[in-house]
Every structure is written in structure tokens, then in C-alpha cells.
Symmetry: C3
């Protein structure tokens, strides 16, 4: 059994509680993805309860896809609590390059040192302040073009950074890996990237190696996408098959499908 | 035709308008479940319009899954209006044990005497103030352990209380029943419980017996789940099949599948 | 290739960015519908960023399904910006007849001259202030009964008005057309009408004829529904098939299925 399969087995055994402050488009899918995988999602974002909940959750996922001023406050409170009690938290900088409000919110969240960051290439480039032209939520840059930005971000935050796309790239500033699995239908299902950030949080809930755990999350997700596409006729049936596949995903499938390019040194 | 089938036939004939103030994860599914079944859902939660709408709806469902201060105010306004004009309303105390904000909100809503309460075992125990340890939204207690809490709650509110799980339990403090239908995939689809609370509201819209109507809602839902699972390969295809099955559910299926344990006296 | 097919081909070529301020029930489906069709959706509604984003989007869709005071402010800011920079914007007056809050919000948005309005018959009648009795979000009036209201609205706003139902009606005050495609399962899937308003916005993003573009949006949608129904067993499988069908829809299917009643003069 590969390391990735072992991480997945541990996730199912511990069924971590994963608090989300995520966008309105992603909430339902993110919860279904985590339930299918074997984790326990909870969407909690009111400032009146966000700290109390963040102190008891096993992992936290913050996503700026659909911002509002009250939620920005809650995101900061939750991330501070997570950092204070030592709970891993994942930051998903959706469309961070599009508006000043997003850039400022992201900058303040970055100061709270996310355990991992997951975004598409345009988002990672914009977050590392290298001036991407991304307007919307879909990437207009290649993953390769974002590699240096990802390494710089990892060094700045001390966390893991994952750039997802046709080939995923993940780094902790010292190690890096590329995951060549996945399928072209994945970006045709809204919020599949956002939901993946919650999956990274779930894998980080109980691990001693954040890089390995994030990598296992990317691998599981991309392989599930690849298998699901075999019974898909378009994005509708793909999304259904994807949840079924996550639910049934096992170590043998991971070992069979895995196409990893690993390089320990940068 | 059983009583349950008669309640379902009446729902389809009257197509009740069911106002929801429900959580962000559940909204879409709850609306689709009601449309599939034959009712007419409406999500209306702004304090500027919530009383006006609550005065014209046929039933109301309030769910505290994703709280915020403005919505807590709207929930109270809507429940007060429903009570004032005699419209049935259902309370779904999602994750009520997790934070003080939820406990306080729930306590105030309980004072407005919900016509029915539907929750999982951990939620019903926490609501009855018996100190459950539930952290997240998924139950950590058995339905059986929540029976006394349910009866106590029913006596306190004068309403019906339903505890859903592998075997559902429903009581109005005088009568009780258990529904042994359902399927293990149901808790793997997010918000399926939340959507069920809306279904209870729809069944309560036009009935002379709230206990019987709630029981019919539980039975229809659990049997639809059981039938849907026959064509499911996981939670994704289950959710799709569940909506199809609700749409086609008929009295003969209910009579064929029904596994009810009834006991009129407590 | 018909005009409708040409409009669809152009949409896929340009992949327009379509900003939505839409309701909580519709957000996920609206995004998936646009992605399946080939456009790029973005849900952005905070007043802190709504003008900045509206200045860079290719089209805007505003939907009052789940209102709140902060969003009403954002809707006005976004529509004003769209009008100022000349970006097409679509107004979807969900349940406008139900409450004073909706009527007042809609009246103010109408003053900002939407490029197109799309609603069901009850909504269009209520919006034209002809006193519909619609309580909820589902239509209680026939499309035919809304034709005069649609023409009056089109003349008042100078824009296109579409009434969708069993047979869709569209007019710009001078021209009119009826689309006889579609399927009875479509109103059984929540927010399918709301998502259609986003599709109209996507078709309007790059066109010289707003009437023709709106008509092409209605035609594509209704034909996709008709084809999808062939593999549906109920509203669950219909929704899945509908996304697959939008993804694969081609000009030949449009030409084969099209049932248009066109009349250039009113």
C-alpha cells in the first residue's frame, strides 16, 4: 500500500470533523465530497460561534469565493483560533486577483500562516503578487507558470502550497511533486476545486507530514476524477460518478492509477 | 391504501407552499426534494419580508444549520407569525449542542412551540438539555438513547418530535411509532435530514393529526431512500435516484415496503 | 446552421465571464449550467467589490430570489455599473408579487433598464403591475396571459422580455417569438429558471441583436431540456442529463428539434 493509500485509510478511520467557511456555490458539493470520502463536514461561519467551533474542529477550510464583510471577520477569527490551538487550516484564494477586496482579505489571511494553500495557477500567481491577469474564477495561466510563485509562497508562509490543474504541483518550499492524474471534465463542474481544499483539510487533520498529506489529498482526488470520467457523458453525470468513486476509492485503485512525478529537492 | 399513502396523495393534491429559513448547504436539495414530492418550496429569510411571507405560506420550516444574527431575528419573526396565524412550523435544531449561539437560538425558538421538531439523536438529546457530546452535524448517539428526550420535548412543547436515524422514532408525548425503513447511504448525502424537515412541514400543511402527518412524512422519506438505494452505486447516484423515487412514489410502494412498529400508549 | 446555432457557437468561442448576484438556491446550478454550456460564471455580491467586478465582467445577471438588504444595495450598484459601462444585464424577478420588499426592489432595478428580463408568467404580470395573485416562486398564470404584460414591459424598459413556461414567449416590443420546445420535468428542478437567466446573460455578452440572442438562449435551453428528458426517470436524473446535454448540444440538434413560432410584427 502506497503512502497515499495509507493517508486515505487513516482519514476514513478517524472521520475528521472539518469546519468550512466556504463560498455559497461550493457548500453543498464540499459537504458531499467530504461525506463520500468518509470525513464529517460542518459549515459554521457566524462570528458569534466561529471561534468556539474552530477550537473543537479537527481541521478548518477557508475559501474567499463569495465574500462579505461579516464573513471576512469570521474567517480571521477562525484562522486565528486554529493557529492558536494548533489545528491545521487550508486557505483557498478564489479569484484573488479580481478585486481589491479579495487581495486585502487574502493578505490578512496569509499573515495567519495557513497550513496549506490550494488554488489554480492564476490564483497562486496573484497571491504571490506576481501580477496575474486572472479576472474570474477560472485559471488563465498554466500550472507550470505558477511553480515559482508556489515555492515563494511556501517559503513565505512556512506551509504547503498546491497548484491544481491538468498536472497538479505541490511544494513545501523544500520538496515538490507533480500529480499527472485527473480529467478534463473536472473544471467543468463548479466548485470542484473549492471542495478539494476541504479534502486537503481533511487529510491534514491527523498527520505528521503536511506535504505528504496534501499530496495524498491531490492524488486521491485526481484519481477519483479519472475513474469517474469513465462512466461520464458530460459534467452532470461526471459529478455523480465522482461522488460514487470517492466513496468506493481504495488503495489498489490508487496504486494502479497513480502517475506521480516526485523530486525531493528544489 | 394506508394512512401514509393517503397523506402523500393529499400533499400532491394540495401542493402546499412551504417557506424555508434553512441553511446554505440544504437550500437547493430541500427545494428539489419538495418539488419532486409535489409541494412548492420558497426560501424567504429577509427580515423585511419574512412576516409578510409567513402569513401567506401553508407551512414553515426553520433550520439553524448555518446561523447568522440577522437570520436568527428572521427565524423568530417567522415563527411568531406562523404561530399567530395558526400555520404549522417545523424546527430542525442542526448541531444544537455545538455552540452557545446555537443553544440560545434554539431555546428561544422552542418557546414559540414548533408544531414538530426533527433532528438526529444527538440533536434531540442536546435540545432536551440532557448533555449530549455531539460536536458536529452528524449524530454520535443512537436513536434509542434519544427516545426519552424526544418524549420530554414533546410534552414540553405540545408538539410532535421525530428522531431520525437507522430506525426513526416519532412521538407526540402520548403516542409513539418507529419506522424501520431507510438505507445506510442516506447520511452520506449532505442535508438529506434538513430536507426531510421541509417534507415534514409539507405533510403538516393540511392535516388534522400532526402525529400521523409527521409519521407519513418519515415513512415516505425512508421508503423512498430504500427504493433509491437499489439503483445506487454510492452517494452521488443515490441522491439522483432518491429524487426520481420521491417523484414516482406511490401508495402501493408504501404498502409493500412499510416496516412500522407502532405503539399508541407511552 | 440556424441563427440560434450561430449564437451558441459564438458563446463557446468567447467563453464570456458572467457575474451573478443570484439567489442561494440557484448559485450552484447556475454556475454548472454556464460551465456546461461553455461560459465562465462568477458569483460576486459584496458591496465592497461589486462595482469593480461589474466593470470587468462580460455580462451580469441579477436575481431577487433570496433577498437581503445588503444584497439589494449590491444589486443596484452592479446594475448601475453595468449600465454605465455598457455591459448587458439580465433581471430575474423571482416571486416579485409575493412581498412589498420584492416589489420595491424590482421597481428600483427596473429603472436601471435591464437589457433583458426573464421570468415566469406570474412574475412578468406582477412586474408589469397588472395584479397577479402569485404567492410563491411557481407560476399560477399561463404564458399566454402574460404576453401583453411582456410587451408593455419591453416598451417601458427598451429591453427584451422573456416569459418562460410550456411555450416560451419573447419580445422586444417590436418583434415577438414563441419557443414550443421544452419538457414538463423542467419546472420540477429547482432554480432551472434562475439558471436560464444566467444563460440569457451569457448569450447577450457579445451580440448586436439582443432579441435574437435572447431567443437563441431560450431555444438552446428548451431543446436541451427536451433531449435530456429522453434519458430521465424523474427530476433527479433529468437534472444530470440536462447538464450533459448542454455540454454536448450542437447546431444539428438545434436544427432538428427547433419548434419556433416567429412573428416579426406586433
Amino acid at each position: 500500500m502506497s503512502d497515499c493509500a495509507a493517508h486515505l485509510a487513516r482519514l476514513r478511520e478517524t472521520a475528521p470533523l472539518v469546519q468550512h467557511i466556504t463560498n455559497h456555490v461550493a457548500m453543498n458539493l464540499a459537504a458531499n465530497v467530504l461525506l463520500a470520502l468518509g470525513a464529517s463536514p460542518a459549515m459554521v461561519h457566524a462570528k458569534e460561534e466561529v471561534e468556539e467551533f474552530a477550537a473543537l474542529t479537527d481541521a478548518l477550510c477557508i475559501n474567499i469565493g463569495t465574500l462579505s464583510a461579516p464573513w471576512v471577520e469570521s474567517m480571521q477569527l477562525a484562522a486565528k483560533t486554529a493557529r492558536h490551538v494548533g489545528t491545521p487550516w487550508v486557505f483557498d484564494p478564489v479569484a484573488v486577483g479580481a478585486t481589491a477586496f479579495r487581495r486585502e482579505t487574502a493578505a490578512r489571511l496569509l499573515e495567519l500562516k495557513p497550513t496549506a494553500i490550494r488554488g489554480n495557477a492564476s490564483e497562486i500567481i496573484a497571491l504571490a503578487a506576481q501580477g496575474s491577469a486572472g479576472r474570474g474564477v477560472d485559471s488563465t495561466d498554466s500550472v507550470e507558470a505558477a511553480e515559482q510563485a508556489a515555492i515563494a509562497l511556501a517559503n513565505r508562509t512556512g506551509g504547503v502550497v498546491a497548484v491544481t490543474g491538468p498536472v497538479d504541483f505541490v511544494t513545501d518550499g523544500k520538496r515538490q511533486a507533480k500529480v499527472a492524474n485527473g480529467h478534463a471534465l473536472m473544471p467543468r463542474v463548479t466548485a470542484l476545486g473549492c471542495a478539494q481544499s476541504g479534502v486537503v483539510a481533511a487529510f491534514l487533520a491527523d498527520t505528521e507530514d503536511n506535504f505528504e498529506a496534501t499530496l495524498a489529498a491531490l492524488v486521491s482526488y485526481a484519481i477519483a476524477g479519472e475513474i469517474a470520467a469513465q462512466r461520464a457523458q458530460g459534467p452532470g453525470s461526471f459529478a455523480v460518478a465522482f461522488l460514487d468513486t470517492l466513496y468506493r476509492l481504495d488503495g489498489q485503485q490508487i496504486d494502479t492509477y497513480l502517475r506521480l512525478e516526485m523530486s525531493d529537492e528544489i
